[in-house]
Amino acid sequence: VNEDLLSERKKCEFNVEELTNYLDGGAKATENRRKLERKVLSTKGLIDNVPEEFLSHKEKYENAVRKAVLFYKAMKDAEDPNLSEQERANTTYRSLLPSAVFKDNSPFTLHVAMFIPAILGHADEEQKKYWMNRASKMEIIGTYAQTELGHGTFIRGLETTATYDSKTEEFVMHSPTLTSYKWWPGSLAHTANYCVVMAHLYSQGKSCGIQPFIIQLRDEETHMPLPGIKLGEIGAKLGFNTVNNGFLGFENHRIPRNRMLMKNAQVLKDGTFRKSPNSKLTYGTMVYVRVVIVNGMANQLARAVTIAVRYSAVRRQSELKPDAGEPQILDFVTQQHKLFIAIASSHAFSLTAKWLTRMYYKVTADLEKGNMDELPELHAIACCLKAVTSWDTSAMTERCRTSCGGHGYMLSSNLPQIYGLVTAAVTYEGENTVLMLQTARSLVKAFEQAAAGKPLSPTMSYLSEKIDKK
């Protein structure tokens, strides 16, 4: 071990293991996480001998699929069946296992992160039973397609149509324009064979809003795209190059009626559309994804600052005092200013994510009982938290990179790849400025309520203080 690092570890004034346990949520959680990581990372063939960056675009994808299969199996084998759901959640809360195996993410990410949650959130009981059985066994690989070439965050602007034909009891899926092509979903290009597609439903000649459909994209044996389905990959990006982002277009492709996911809205055989009792029920999934993003930002920032701080302890440069030799760059106060805020921010985001998770579960439980009182508050705070944490993490990760001088520019430092992963969060799952304006809408409403003497939700209650005093 480098001597400077040895001496730093001797100087440390607190028990490192105690802090690790605190961050994990207890000694048992640390033990479980380490056990899982050890088991998975010791799987033969999972860690590359040849750095991924020296492979071609196509080779990177093929290598990522190979590793995705190994990784999935290793995770399954390493799972401790005796752990409770909460213990399982604690085990993976801080784990960045996928980031270790896939520098640019797994082509299966969307199956777990979006396809399965979409089925759980939108399918009725019968549909859920059938599709979850297949998806959880990986008999099928799915993704979630909402964003189109011409529309992203503005969901009502989506152009893909699903027109119900009551004669055949089918939906006709169609992409009427180039801009209506689905664009961006991970796994979509060459990995997934099923997809939850958000499309504008028309029945009995009337618009019935944006609804979810589960659609088979590829033959289960040959993996060839089905007739009327156009699929492809969208090309190289700043990061996430192994996640297999794709495009998807429909040419009057027909699917049976039961392929519309009907938990929240239904189309009957004759084409009668039954509206969801409350469209707000679907907000839950969106909020959950934002909770995951805030926690992910905390973990990736921790990873970036670990690299930068250790390097800053090893690297010696310049002279603070004449003839005193080159100091560790960590002794420069400007370096401390760049890095220590990243450590504090990672803690701040992690604790905020835990708070947000608790609130999410409370609101979800309330929703099941028909109580939606706290949903707008949760939505408002989740929107701005996703935006501010992803902005701050991008800026601080980039600062970690530049704090390592020229060596931080090397892909082998992994800092550029971490930046690629975190900066994507600024624009995915709701573009940040749009999300900030959604929070602003709640703030303006709360401000007007305060002026009218009405009570405010806890996170905005301070807005009434100044008004009271006035």
Partner: protein, 192 residues
């Protein structure tokens, strides 16, 4: 209200900034509506202020949550670690105070003396955290495989790893690349 340099005082200050910014954005929208704009256009015209108001609200929220969660969860920790966790909260609060001075000067009673004192406390905090910096990142407990970095491995063999990785470049597999014979040599010898 008198400015207070404590973390609680800073949280109050950030909330005043958020309230001030929301009030200002609302006033701006009203002004545009009075001038004849529809509510949607007035919203669009005020949207830069609205985003700033959201950011101020979010910063106040993160800061107060960070503070309250550390208070709530560190009771059973050893004294040195609890102290360090509180120093990080203080560092976070002061960092953002110094970053957002313009807003605080506009909406709170923070003074030049307060700012000088905060700057000095901030520099003092950096010094206090310095001996624990490596310990703090070690505590994140990332294995070398998860860090996947030549610069950040636990043993600090930075320069050795940089060289080992460089040698994996396919260009280093042969001493002379074929492009020399195909392009460079004819070009340099004027035979193109």
């Amino acid at each position: 209200q008198k400015w207070d340099n404590s973390v609680d005082g800073i949280i109050k200050g950030f909330r005043r900034v958020a309230t001030g910014k929301v009030a200002s954005a609302v006033a701006s929208m009203k002004k545009y509506i009075k001038r004849g704009l529809g509510p949607e256009d007035a919203w669009n015209m005020s949207s830069v202020q609205l985003v700033a108001a959201s950011e101020a609200h979010c910063r106040a929220f993160i800061l107060s949550t960070y503070r309250s969660e550390v208070d709530r969860t560190t009771g059973s920790l050893s004294e040195p670690l609890r102290r360090l966790m509180n120093e990080l909260v203080q560092l976070y609060a002061i960092y953002w105070t110094l970053e957002k001075l313009g807003d605080l000067l506009l909406y709170t009673s923070i003074s030049e003396n307060d700012i000088r004192e905060l700057q000095s406390t901030y520099e003092d905090l950096l010094g206090r955290i310095r001996p624990n910096a490596v310990g703090l990142v070690d505590a994140f407990d990332f294995s070398d495989q998860i860090l996947n970095s030549t610069l950040g491995a636990y043993d600090g063999r930075v320069y050795e790893r940089l060289m080992e990785e460089a040698l994996k470049s396919p260009l280093n597999a042969e001493p002379v690349n074929q492009s020399f014979h195909k392009y460079l040599k004819p070009f340099m010898q004027g035979k193109l």
